[in-house]
Amino acid sequence: MRRRSPVFLARRAYRLRRLRDAARLLPVAGAFLLLLPILWEPPEASDRNTAWDGIYLFAVWGGLIALAAWLAQGLAAGEDSDEATDAENGPDGPRRGER
């Protein structure tokens, strides 16, 4: 039994690390999606549909909020148990102070 718990913890720490990666990537993805309208259509095409543009914008916005909310939950929970998980991380984990 004693051998199994580190395996479980390491896996959790791994997940937490990827969760942080996701949190870092989210604004990049968001910026990409929000800048996408620039590339849509040449300005001279006059059949642009403002209402649809607005709906796209708010859909991206809502998606970002939902993802951020989901990530924040995991990140906040992760921060509390940081000390425990970092002990398992070995040298490639971010170094925190020696408490």
Binding site: R20, A23, R24, L26, P27, V28, G30, A31, L34, L35, P37, I38, P43, S46, R48, N49, T50, A51, D53, G54, L57, F58, W61, G62, L64, I65, A66, L67, A68, A69, L71, A72, Q73, L75, A76, E79, P94, R95, R96, G97, E98, R99
Partner: protein, 899 residues
């Protein structure tokens, strides 16, 4: 709607805010309300980003430029969704370094440089002034709407007077709640809570108008959908440079606006709140903007062609006769304006007082010593700065006439504050960033902003003549303000943003690359950039042993207040394992003190004050090693060595002190023995001489009477001396019988003052007492206690040689203990003698002045030990000061268990 009703509603609303702020502050002081520091309140307080500009102006912006209005919210959304990058680090650094403002943060990172603090403060004030004017303008405009729509026949109110009243009211509110105390963390719970309530008001107001427009005026979302595509908004063209530029600009502004920094970092009660705000704040922004386009479209269709789209939120409900809804919308706009102005003026006043007023005062005052009440000075400086900032806003409003479209002013202000972005991001991510680079970047960015955007905003003929726009200064074409270096055909705002930020960043980078940072900068850079790694290895910039702790205590008392400073020093002393109020000036202690002071007056000022007392900032060899090479082993090793060295130094110092004390005591004892022989001999000699004369007889009776009296007096003196010695030995053995009963402290002090009045009765003593605080009943031995009091009062009558002698008696109750302080205005006791005054036979001055044998204070100390209390000398009170501490209720003899 009657105008008076409107004014009444505003006043009621203001009173409500006062009440909320007051109750919140109360609750916080009682330590009760955890929810005041909850993620919800934190998120809502961030909503000061949405000012009256966004509340009214967003609809106007949408009516003019379609979906472009959303960029103002999309930038902050990206910043918050990406909180793991920047915000988390900023908040952590802010809390760790006790940052009080954005100027403080930048100045603290670049070697606590005050020059940078001043530059950032100036940029912030210049950029915020038009913004505050904008808020005043929007409130007066909305008043004007009601005035114009009124059917009661009253004239349009004087707009200037309205703006003046609003500015004065806001200044009053901010001063009342923003500068009540010099909080260690610069946090203002009351105001933050009031701001959170305002956030709810403006959200509800905008949503209510939106719902009314979509479901009452139109037939639901599908109808709105049709109307949008049929309206002028359908022709909207997305301009790529503006779209991407404005998203980047608003993202930069949300990080750099002083008011955002205030709520985001300084007022942050708990770092974990940020996780919630990362999605809740974007949600708030989305909710604020979801109905903007529908309101704009319906407004364009239903209102006459000339109507100002900036005021559709108000005029649309009014035109339909919905007075109540319009009133709600008005309150929403009012609260957007007030909350922004309040927080902005607090943030700016903190910066002005900490980075301009304090350093000026520090350098202008004639003596090196810190005199006077610094707390009051700082608070006054803040109050005047708040009034000054609002006054500037009002001035700008009345000078500019308040005519420009709302959105334009707001964006100009944004570009101004965005100039701090390179210096700030460099501060937290790049260890190579230096003060020279930051100063160069800020100055160049600010200058280009003023040249290409701020000054041209006054229009042709305003500051620049028209020829300047067309041909450039002195006919130099490539210096035209809106086509710098020949880059013509760009939107003026984006043009200014592009050039100011590019050149700012370039200057910052080049300046940093070619300059060399000072040691303090490097240490601070390490602390900022590696804030998550270096939790314990804080930079220690102070060298021990160069500073008098007593001087530090004086300084701290002036800034933190008497009791908090004494408590802080006492805790530090006991942590080091020494008694009393004066800890050793170890680097750790100096560092802790500096950060404590920084919470009150800012990092640069605190650093300057301590540096002045401690000589100058020195970096130890161990610190430089840490800067040069941060492998964990070396850090730990040098840390351990450092700790060992400090420990040994402290032990050595304690040993030295003990040795000194022993030597002195031995000398004292010898002196006392010779002295007591002398004391015994003098009366003995006179007794023997006079009794021999008497024995010879043949003396006239009146002369014999006189001689007998002398013999009697001398015998009494001898007896008293022996009594004292006996008393002392009884007290020391703990065999004394205590007569415990209830006694009034007030009466005890009365008795002591009366009894001590016989000592040098010719001197007129001014005694300051606080009678209400003396109304305490103690269970103790009243006779023994008053013996102590009498001794202390007589001592000060004897030794206080001020021209107008004064004695202050302060009584305080701390839980089950009572503290009585006796403070006079005499010369006090020199530091080297403070150690020995409670020892037996100690006497400081020559014996002719002192009547006794130097046993008084020793007896006092023994009595207090028997009464379960202590007596201690209180340093740095402007005279001799003794603190008597004793239990409120003494139940049994404290030595009973031991005996």
């Amino acid at each position: 709607m009657p105008f008076n009703l409107l004014v009444l509603a505003c006043l009621c609303y203001a009173v409500l805010l006062f009440a909320i702020a007051f109750v919140a502050e109360r609750n916080m002081q009682a330590g009760a309300a955890r929810w005041l520091r909850s993620p919800l309140v934190y998120t809502l307080s961030l909503s000061i980003y949405c000012t009256a500009w966004t509340f009214y102006g967003a609809v106007g912006y949408a009516a003019r430029s379609g979906l472009e209005f959303a960029t103002i919210y999309l930038g902050p959304t990206l910043v918050f969704v990406g909180w793991w990058w920047v915000l988390r680090k900023m908040v952590r650094i802010g809390r760790r370094q006790r940052v009080t403002s954005i100027a403080d943060m930048i100045s603290s990172r670049y070697g606590k440089s005050n020059l940078l603090g001043v530059i950032v403060t100036l940029i912030s004030v210049v950029a915020a002034t038009p913004y505050i004017a904008l808020q005043l303008q929007s409130v007066t405009l909305s008043f004007g709407v009601f005035a114009a729509a009124g059917t009661y026949g009253w004239a349009m109110p004087d707009t200037n007077a309205t703006a003046l009243w609003v500015a004065a009211g806001l200044a009053l509110f901010t001063i009342l709640f923003g500068t009540r105390n010099l909080d260690a963390n610069e946090q203002h719970t009351g105001i933050v809570t009031a701001i959170a309530v305002e956030a709810v008001v403006k959200l509800v107001a905008l949503l209510a108008v939106g719902i009314y427009v979509v479901w009452v005026l139109a037939d639901g979302p599908v109808d709105i959908f049709e109307r949008i595509n049929a309206s002028a908004l359908a022709d909207w063209q997305l301009i790529p440079s503006r779209w991407s530029g404005l998203i980047a600009l608003s993202a930069a502004a949300v990080l750099c606006l002083p008011r955002m920094f205030q709520v985001l970092v300084v007022e942050c009660g708990d770092e974990r709140n940020l996780a919630t705000a990362s999605w809740a704040f974007p949600l708030y922004l989305a909710a604020m903007s979801v109905f903007v386009v529908p309101i704009a479209v319906v407004g364009l269709q239903m209102l006459p062609a000339g109507a100002n789209p900036d005021l559709f939120v108000l005029t649309l409900p009014l035109s339909q006769g919905q007075g109540g809804l319009a009133m709600l919308a008005f309150l929403g706009g009012f609260s957007s304006a007030t909350s922004m102005v309040i927080v902005a003026s607090i943030a700016l006043s903190t910066m002005v007082s900490n980075h301009i007023v304090m350093p000026l005062w520090l350098s202008l005052r004639p003596t090196r010593e810190v005199t006077g009440d610094v707390r009051r000075l700082v608070l006054h400086a803040r109050r005047f700065s708040i009034a000054g900032v609002l006054g500037l806003g009002y001035l700008y409003y009345s000078l500019s006439g308040g005519s420009a479209a709302l959105a334009a002013i707001g964006l100009i202000s944004f570009v101004g504050v965005a100039q701090m972005l390179p210096a700030m991001l460099g501060a937290i991510f790049w260890r190579g960033a230096t003060r020279v680079g930051a100063t160069a970047g800020l100055c160049i960015g600010f200058a280009i902003w003023a040249y290409t955007l701020f000054l041209p905003s006054f229009g042709p003929g305003g500051v620049y003549p028209l020829s300047m726009f067309m041909e450039g200064p002195f006919g130099i074409g490539w210096l035209r303000p809106q086509a710098l270096f020949g880059v013509a055909g760009m939107d003026p705002l984006i043009h200014a943003l592009f050039w100011s930020l590019s050149l700012n960043t370039a200057a910052f980078a080049i300046g940093s690359l070619v300059s060399f940072p000072t040691p303090v900068e490097r240490v601070q850079g390490l602390a900022f950039v590696n804030v998550f790694d270096t939790e314990r290895t804080e930079p220690l910039a102070w060298e021990a042993g160069q500073v008098e702790t007593e001087e530090l205590l004086k300084l701290a008392q002036r800034i933190l207040g008497d009791e908090p400073a004494l408590t802080f020093f006492e805790e530090a002393a006991s942590a080091q394992g020494t008694e009393g109020y004066l800890p050793d000036p170890t680097p750790e202690f100096l560092d802790a003190l500096e950060r404590k002071l920084a919470g009150a007056v800012g990092a640069a000022a605190a650093h300057a004050m301590i540096a002045e007392l401690a000589g100058r900032a020195r970096v130890t060899v161990a610190d430089l090693m840490r800067v040069a090479d941060e492998t964990a082993q070396i850090m730990e090793y040098s840390g351990r060595l450092e700790a060992q060295r400090a420990e040994m130094e402290r032990t050595a110092r304690q040993l030295r002190e003990a040795n000194e004390k022993l030597t002195q005591l031995s000398i004292q004892k010898d002196a006392f023995l010779s002295q007591i022989s002398h004391e015994l001999r003098t009366p003995m000699t006179s007794i023997r001489a006079f009794s021999e004369i008497l024995m010879e007889g043949d003396v006239p009776p009146e002369v014999a009477g006189g001689q007998a009296r002398i013999i009697h007096d001398e015998a009494i003196r001898l007896t008293r001396l022996l009594d004292d010695l006996l008393d002392l030995s009884v007290l020391e053995n703990g065999t004394v019988q205590l007569d415990l009963r209830l006694a009034s402290l007030n009466e005890l002090i009365d008795r002591a003052l009366r009894a001590a009045a016989q000592v040098r009765p010719d001197r007129v003593f001014m005694v300051w007492r606080d009678l209400p605080s003396e109304a305490l009943f103690l269970r103790t031995d009243p006779d023994r206690l008053s013996q102590v009091f009498i001794n202390l009062v007589s001592n000060s009558r004897k030794y206080c040689d001020a021209a107008k002698p004064e004695l202050r008696i302060n009584v305080k109750q701390r839980g089950a203990r009572v503290i009585v302080d006796f403070i006079d205005n005499g010369p006090g006791i020199p530091k080297d003698k403070q150690q020995i005054i409670f020892e037996k036979f100690a006497r400081l001055s020559d014996q002719t002045r002192a009547g006794g044998a130097g046993l008084g204070l020793a007896i006092c100390r023994e009595i207090m030990a028997n009464l379960g209390g202590t007596i201690a000398y209180l340093p740095a009170q402007g005279g001799a000061a003794f603190r008597v501490t004793l239990p409120l209720r003494l139940e049994k003899h404290p030595f009973a268990d031991a005996a």
